[in-house]
């Protein structure tokens, strides 16, 4: 009961905050639409994609994942602001404990991610024909991608102690996750070493699952995509819980009369 109340409180607070930072929410949509409209239009003329699809249509699943990835991860990574400005200590003092705090944060970040990815998905019919069944399947894939992105964001935020590291994290974590995922170009064209990295990158499987949903050529079975996304979410959550508050791990190891 305490855990549910805590999760409720954190989700309500994070979404209220997000709704009052409309600039940030809208700014998060600029990046995917810039890729889709500006880069996509330019690459339509020069890119030759297998199956004769336009580059814009090819890149659409990747752009949906991009919107979810940035929305979810950046919202979750914002935890580092709470740590620096004292709000996180308030949350960590909750009787419900770290798993409930992380679940609340991940849920709120996932909602932001689904919202941002969903807006791109809603524009899909302007780029390629999308049946209602495909849209529903894509929405399901988006939810999985959003939850995984939010949880990865928490894992990235867990060891961060200062907002000064925040910008660096975006360049060092977010862009590589996106670029080495087959979101913007096929992994088949990558050098073997990079392809290996792509196969270890959970974002690759999110993009692949979106391609399944939207009827595009894929690299893996949909079942494998789902398994990897769920597995990455569980592993990232467990690691984040372990790293989030070193004091809690330490506390159990102290001998009472040491």
């Amino acid at each position: 009961m305490s855990a549910l109340a805590t999760i409720h409180g954190i989700v309500a607070r994070d979404l209220t905050r997000a709704s009052r930072q409309t600039g940030r929410l809208l700014g998060g949509l600029v990046r995917p639409f810039m890729w889709l409209l500006l880069v996509g239009t330019g690459y339509n003329a020069i890119a030759r994609i297998e199956g004769g699809v336009s580059y814009q249509a090819y890149v659409l699943p990747g752009i949906i994942v991009m919107a979810a990835l940035f929305g979810g991860m950046l919202t979750a990574i914002a935890t580092v602001y709470d740590r620096e400005f004292g709000m996180l200590r308030l949350m960590l003092a909750s009787p419900a404990g770290i798993p409930a705090v992380l679940t609340g944060r991940a849920a709120a970040a996932s909602v932001v991610a689904v919202l941002q990815g969903g807006i791109v998905l809603a524009c899909a019919p302007f780029v390629m024909p999308v049946s209602p069944a495909a849209a529903a399947a894509a929405a399901g894939a988006l939810v999985l991608a959003a939850i995984m992105s939010a949880t990865l964001g928490l894992l990235v935020a867990a060891p961060l102690r200062s907002v000064e590291n925040f910008a660096g994290v975006i360049n060092v974590v977010l862009f590589p996750l996106l670029f080495v995922s087959g979101a913007l170009y096929p992994t088949s064209g990558m050098p073997p070493a990079l392809r290996l990295v792509a196969h270890a990158n959970p974002v690759t499987y999110a993009v692949d699952l979106l391609r399944h949903a939207l009827g595009q050529p894929t690299e893996f079975a949909a079942g494998l995509d789902v398994e990897v996304l769920l597995g990455a979410t569980v592993v990232a959550f467990a690691l984040a819980a372990l790293l989030f508050d070193p004091e809690q791990r330490l506390a159990g190891k102290i001998s009472p009369r040491a």
Binding site: T6, H8, R89
Partner: protein
């Protein structure tokens, strides 16, 4: 016959940061319903002690129990009984006052109708009604602190741990905060552990623990600690101050003595205030002689500040 466990029982509780000792070995037993002040200079270990007792820091040595529950292994059960105010305010500027309290109520584990009831009562008790719908970022420091106090008290905690709750506030807000805390104690028998640099705020405490460089250097009721300084304190400034102190010592009038930047603070035994004044009249070089009752500030200076040689 069994007695209820004390609100706080710490044995040799200590904490190091990267090998540097922040708190040595705190031994502390606080009975239920009491008001206890932790005093000491910056870096004395006050915040570390409070965070250890609040289960937010793990001890390097020793142990502590809150209402009989172990701070290392029963954190969740302890937190349900705690209300915390940190040194820095924990108020989200993007939320209104009411939204901040709704958030905190749910974090404390309240749910359903109890959330709104507790928030409404806390807003009324803290006098936050006219500001309930205001974004918290528009509040002054004093009002933000009142939000902190409302947040910490609204789930009826059995133990309040308050780290410098009135720091930087004007007298009006300080008075309001202490009025809320007094009411909380009166109505719910809440135990209150607080730290402060305003020594006057510790005078009504049942007990004062004075920390310096991670060690307890004084512990007792304010009246006891003051009495140990002497019946009254003479502030003696000027070049002749040391001569007067020597004369007072010879008459066995001195209970405690401490050198200051400008002279001496001398704790006098009972009945020695008037003779001291008379003696001073015969000693040259006394710029100022003032005799007044001993205060916690005298205790603070005598126990925490190194002697001027």
């Amino acid at each position: 016959m069994t007695f209820p466990a004390p609100a706080i029982h710490a044995e040799g509780l200590g904490r190091d940061y990267d090998g540097a000792r922040a708190l040595g070995a705190l031994n502390l037993t606080v009975s239920r319903g009491s008001l206890v002040g932790i005093l000491g200079p910056n870096g004395a270990g006050k915040t570390t002690a409070m965070l250890l007792l609040a289960t937010l820091l793990a001890p390097t040595r020793g142990s502590a129990r809150i209402f009989g529950l172990d701070t290392s292994t029963q954190r969740s059960a302890i937190r349900r009984r705690l209300g915390l105010v940190f040194q820095e305010t924990s108020v989200d500027g993007f939320l209104t006052v009411e939204e901040n309290l709704l958030f905190a109520a749910r974090l404390a584990g309240l749910s359903g109708g109890a959330v709104r009831t507790a928030v409404a009562a806390a807003i009324a008790a803290a006098g936050l009604g006219p500001r309930a719908s205001q974004p918290a970022r528009q509040l002054s420091g004093g009002w933000r602190r009142l939000v902190d106090i409302a947040r910490a008290t609204m789930h009826r905690p059995q133990l309040l741990i308050l780290d410098e709750p009135t720091v930087g506030l004007d007298p009006e807000h300080r008075e309001r905060i202490w009025a809320i805390l007094d009411e909380e104690r009166r109505r719910h028998d809440t135990t209150v552990l607080f730290s402060t640099h305003y020594l006057i705020e510790a005078e009504p405490a049942d007990r004062v623990v004075l920390l310096a460089r991670g060690d307890v250097v004084a512990d007792g009721a304010p009246a006891e600690l003051r009495a140990a300084m002497g019946d009254e304190v003479a502030e003696i400034d000027g070049s002749g101050a040391s001569e007067l102190v020597a004369l007072l010592r010879a008459r066995e009038a001195v209970v405690s003595v401490r050198r200051t930047e400008r002279g001496f603070r001398v704790g006098l035994g009972r009945g020695h205030a008037r003779p001291a004044m008379e003696l001073a009249a015969g000693v040259g070089g006394i710029d100022r002689l003032a005799v007044r009752p001993a205060t916690l500030e005298d205790v603070y200076f005598s126990r925490t500040v190194p002697e001027i040689v």
